[in-house]
């Protein structure tokens, strides 16, 4: 029997995310960090909170190099709850053999979206003496999965029988250096095969607009769906930590000052987030937002609702 996924050939994977983006909807994705333990309930609890607030949900892959329940396993739990996961895959912990194997497994288990990342360095996590693999990088990973999907070939060139139908994503950080290279890196990711982009958390809108204008000049916004990353700030401490301790994060002083002056930090943090979303929606080439409420999942429904983005479209 010729095994074939029941996917319209016009779609890469036919995921909700892909269909909505191609239909021109302003999409919302959010994020779920799996627990540091073998708790199915913990995944379900977070997923239950997020359900209905976004079109697809990223599941992080041992973010900041901390061991957590795996992204693909969490993805199965989400699918069983009727939600659509975006599996995250980093190059830090697996070589090309393990990565391709996990990709086949993820597709076989029903995953339809894959975010390809290089990964945070292992020194940031709880196993700093681990060997960082980095056999390949995010761009090579995109190219490998695209080749598996579109040419039915492994990285080695060997033929594979049933291709993994995945809608491919990648990250972009407009706030990293050298600034001029950032749009070029995006172009490389597009050439390698990314279908959508989720950006670094945006607080510095001016710089993001500057990047988007280069992206538009290069015509890249027509070749890829760009989802702008946002994160509500819970406290002044969190804002300062992100500003000073997270490499590649750009938190302008005015945000810090606003929080300093605010009586209720959380309320102000949400207001700032909503204002940022409002401005991002007006930027040409922004196809949606990606809300990363780190260990604050319960705030996502409120943000999406107050942003006027509920209910999420039904396919």
């Amino acid at each position: 029997m010729n095994e074939k996924n029941n996917i319209d050939d016009n779609f890469k994977s036919g995921s909700n995310l892909e269909k909505l983006l191609k239909r021109g909807e302003f999409v919302v994705t959010s994020e779920l960090g799996p627990p540091r333990g073998a708790s199915r309930e913990a995944v379900e609890k977070k997923a239950e909170i997020l359900k209905g607030s976004a079109d697809a949900f990223n599941i992080t892959d041992c973010q900041t190099a901390m061991v957590r329940l795996s992204s693909i396993a969490s993805g199965v739990i989400l699918i069983n709850m009727g939600m659509e996961p975006v599996i995250q895959m980093t190059c830090r912990d697996r070589n090309r053999i393990a990565i391709q194997s996990d990709i086949l497994g993820a597709a076989a288990l029903g995953m339809k979206n894959l975010l390809c990342l290089t990964g945070d360095h292992q020194c940031f996590g709880d196993h700093p003496d681990a060997k960082g693999v980095f056999d390949i990088d995010s761009i090579q990973l995109l190219d490998i999965v695209r080749q598996m999907r579109d040419e039915k070939r492994f990285q080695s060139g060997e033929e594979l029988k049933v291709e993994p139908r995945l809608f491919l994503g990648a990250a972009a950080n407009p706030f990293a250096d050298p600034f001029k290279f950032r749009a070029i890196r995006l172009a490389k990711k597009i050439a390698a095969g990314t279908d959508f982009i989720q950006t670094q958390i945006i607080y510095n809108i001016k710089k993001f607009e500057e990047w988007m204008s280069i992206v538009r000049d290069m015509g890249l916004h027509k070749k890829v769906f760009i989802l702008a990353g946002v994160t509500p700030i819970r406290s002044l401490g969190m804002a300062k930590y992100m500003k000073n301790n997270v490499p590649g994060m750009d938190v302008p002083d005015e945000i810090i000052k606003r929080l300093e002056g605010a009586e209720k930090k959380k309320v102000e943090g949400i207001n700032i987030c909503l204002e940022i979303i409002e401005r991002l929606r007006k930027i040409e080439g922004v196809a949606g937002i990606h809300i990363m409420a780190i260990e604050w999942e319960e705030i996502v429904p409120e943000i999406v609702e107050r942003a006027g983005l509920l209910p999420r479209p039904n396919l």
């Binding site: 190059c91 830090r92 090309r96 290089t118 990964g119 945070d120 360095h121 020194c123 960082g132 980095f134 056999d135 390949i136 990088d137 995010s138 761009i139 090579q140 190219d143 490998i144 990285q155 990250a171 972009a172 950080n173 706030f175 990293a176 250096d177 050298p178 290279f181 070029i184 890196r185 172009a187 490389k188 050439a191 390698a192 670094q200 490499p247 590649g248």
Partner: protein, 225 residues
């Protein structure tokens, strides 16, 4: 050159705490340049060992010797004249030197007095930086002469990751982002378009961690009887 760092003295002393006669053997090559394994360091380590033993109320006979290049069989030959009279040898050459002694003078016990750390360069007095990973498939032709394999924390081939800020690596503000350096170098060389190319996955089969590598020069080999 090969750069090494002294092992903690406690670790070294642990090997010899029950022994009576040992030798400390240095190397006059790379580890001398990085002030870790030359004649002077042999003398210093020998003195420290004798003092430590004396503090425990015992005598430790420490012979000192330094050969010109400990990685070559011919240079270590003279050690054979005395090595069997000693309980152990502490070599403060790089790991190559330690292994040359171990192979040549079986069953003498050879201990590594230094940790061999990297292939690098003395960039200013007292500062040595890693410059080559010996990956066996050099990419310096496309990176403006700056090695991303040894100098990028993730050995990336497609440009700086999202953690490169202000010319620094995400791992530490003490580490320059080599991809920022490569970017600037290629720009100056007028070949910034090299940054646009997608570099395919690297052939790690030529690198360390794959299998023991060798260089064979057939025309220089002598038929063994």
């Amino acid at each position: 050159m090969i750069v090494a760092e002294s092992k903690p003295f406690k670790e070294i002393y642990e090997w010899v705490k029950d022994l009576k006669k040992i030798c400390v053997i240095g190397c006059g090559d790379c580890v001398t340049v990085c002030h870790m394994g030359g004649q002077k360091q042999v003398e210093e380590l020998a003195i420290k060992l004798r003092i430590a033993a004396k503090r425990e109320g015992r005598e430790l006979d420490v012979k000192e010797d330094t050969v010109l290049r400990q990685c070559e069989q011919e240079y270590v030959e003279p050690i054979g004249n005395y090595v069997n009279e000693y309980d152990a040898v502490i070599s403060i050459a790089c790991g190559v030197g330690v292994q040359t002694l171990a192979e040549k003078f079986t069953p003498a016990k050879i201990y590594p007095g230094v940790n061999t750390t990297f292939m690098g360069a003395p960039v200013k007095p007292g500062l040595f930086l890693e410059r080559c990973a010996g990956c066996g498939d050099c990419v310096l032709d496309i990176t403006g002469g700056y090695c991303p394999i040894s100098r990028c924390s993730k050995s990336l081939l497609n440009g700086p990751c999202g953690g490169s800020v202000g010319g620094k690596c995400e791992v530490s503000k003490d580490i320059p982002c080599v991809w920022q350096e490569i970017y600037e170098q290629l720009d100056k060389q007028g070949i910034i378009n090299y940054m646009d190319e997608i570099r395919p996955p690297k052939r790690w089969s030529t690198s360390t961690g794959s299998f023991p590598r060798k260089l064979e020069l057939k025309h220089l080999q002598v038929e063994e009887e």
